[in-house]
Amino acid sequence: MKDYRTPISKEPSFERDSPVWDELYKSTLRYYAISLAFSALEERVKGIEESHEFIYRNFFRDKKVKRLFTDGEHRNIPMSLIGYGCENAPTLHVGEEEKGWEFKKWKEELDFFNSIKRKLLEDETYRNKFVAIKDKRLIDYDIDNFRLAKRVNEKYRNEVVLIIKAEISMPVAEIPSPEISI
């Protein structure tokens, strides 16, 4: 297999959390994603697995990347990189944790909701209604999520408040629309 990649032999010397590192990380991952696609096109399975392992070894351990390719993505990598545009490919693999404090807080509130979900479902006051959770406390509820959101925004504009329906399953959404770069 012709290998289009050039492995990084040295660790970078600057701070991992610096903007320089972020830029290097992004551009390197983008570069590897592109070369991975070229390699994989020539020898599909081996190229994917080998490249995946390399990226995993070099990035995943730093917890810069929370997850890389799932089995499904593995199979579709060449297609998705080419179809999706190589520039966009790395963003698929950066975890929510990278985004900021608000997402950590949001996750905490979601975990709390899951821990009390059974109690909420057993209570007629809350069952099938939207509840608002802030700082691991239930602060409001309503049958209309937009009305509840308006109240929450008025009181807690700059704070993370989870608004979620007390029901068994989580709502599901697909956004299956690839864009072509021109």
Partner: protein, 126 residues
């Protein structure tokens, strides 16, 4: 309201000007919105989300086009204005990979949309 197809995307697409703001807030931003009948839920670009200072409010299990599996994703409550006349309250998700606001079927199912591809014209009736 009639609009021309936009050539900012290829193939030409249904893109219209909208205004977005937080629900219960007055401050807003102009944006370009692309009609996306394949999207179950509307999508705000990460850039615009930050500009509007929208914080995570809800949750939806979301999945993209490339078999990456369903992942719990934060949602945001926004008010969308078309033509400064009509408004819709929406619960949307944010994606860093789009520069447009994607109008999904959560909004599309509330309006009448006629698209004339050969003439590159589309019309929205509320």
């Amino acid at each position: 309201m009639r609009f021309k197809y936009s050539h900012d995307v290829f193939p030409p697409g249904l893109i219209l000007p909208v205004r977005l703001s937080i629900i219960g807030g007055e401050d807003g931003r102009e944006a370009k919105a692309k009609v996306d009948t394949g999207a179950d839920i509307s999508v705000i670009s990460e850039e615009l989300r930050k500009e509007l200072n929208l914080l995570p409010r809800g949750v939806v299990s979301a999945k993209g086009a490339f078999d990456e599996g369903f992942t719990p994703s934060p949602t945001y409550f926004v008010k969308l204005y078309i033509n400064h006349s009509f408004s819709f309250e929406l619960q949307v998700i944010s994606l860093p990979t789009t520069k447009y606001f994607l109008i999904g079927r959560d909004l599309l199912n509330q309006i009448i949309l006629h698209a004339n591809g050969p003439a590159e014209l589309f019309e929205i009736t509320i």
